[in-house]
Symmetry: C2
Subunit: 192 residues, 2 copies
């Protein structure tokens, strides 16, 4: 089964190395991995054309895959990388099994409490809000409910664990747990 | 044509009022709008079950729609709201016309330069990176290339404009521009 390995690893200084480690691990569990950055994109004269070409290649890779494992570790802020989230929504709409992982164990609610310096309080209807008036989701979830919900609705799982700060985008333990779960599910379905 | 109005407006203190204004505007351009929050969700005893129920309702609403207009204004950070981005990817995978808008005119690259306090410099391969080593996309785009790319590949547009800070999630000018573009496109396709 072909699996799309989505995640912000493409932005790392050692992107190729980390992607190769993920690819090797996915193969070990019997999957055929594809990931953003697998295909060379022609360099265009205009920046925007170049960006559009990369987007087109990634969509093509997704359409070739039957499953997604998305790295949803908070990226440059309190939420998952939006490029990865686009890809998660894309694969969920296609009805593909979807798995996610985050190397931050704190829930979405806990991270938002941190973001607001603890100043999250229930409004008159009992809904938690930050000092800016924005509602804070409190659903025991790793990120926005569309992400956790999309994954769960496709029979997947969102695995979280806390890793050392300098291993935030390098530790593959939670990623491997997704592979274990996905391989087990595949085995169970083929055994039926 | 039924259009899904995605966006973080659902978190505003006056969410219903803003959603109703968007709905009224969409109707004026001949669309049948649906938006997250349109359907009441049964309150569940367990938080997570409640969140999953909301996710399921939103996915159902998306499946009932043929087009999306997503509010991609940076939300609690430098990027779009991840719930909205999930929905954008979802509708793009379904091949629906997709439009986006942002009430922040700065590009993704400019916002990231701000995030890094200006310390974005090209690496040995000429690729811009922040002081943490992470690559910074520089593609003249409003957000991550998957968002801009997904919208453009579906013939849509990502409209940006700068609004006053206190109108960041209230100003509907860019949203209305999406409606104008979508209505014009629909007219052109039916006239053919």
């Amino acid at each position: 089964m072909k699996v799309y390995l989505a995640g912000p690893e493409v932005f790392l200084p050692n992107a190729r190395e980390v992607l190769d480690a993920k690819i090797a691990l996915a193969r070990r569990y019997g999957f055929t991995p594809v990931s953003p950055g697998d295909l060379e994109v022609t360099a265009y004269e205009f920046k925007r054309a170049h960006g559009l070409a990369i987007s087109a290649v990634n969509e093509k890779l997704m359409l070739s895959a039957e499953m997604i494992i998305a790295n949803l570790t908070p990226f440059r802020g309190i939420a998952a990388d939006v490029g990865t989230v686009y890809e998660l929504g894309f694969m969920c709409a296609r009805g593909c099994p979807a798995y996610g992982f985050s190397n931050v164990a704190k829930t979405h609610f806990e991270r938002l409490k941190g973001y607001y310096g603890g100043a999250v309080h229930p409004d008159a209807q009992g809904r938690p809000r930050g000092p800016d008036g924005l509602a804070v989701e409190d659903f025991d979830m790793a990120d926005n409910l569309m992400l956790d919900g999309g994954i769960e609705a496709r029979g997947g799982a969102l695995v979280t664990r806390e890793v050392a700060g300098d291993r935030l985008f390098l530790d593959l333990g939670a990623f491997e747990e997704c592979l274990v779960l996905a391989a087990r599910r595949l085995l169970a379905s083929t055994a039926r």
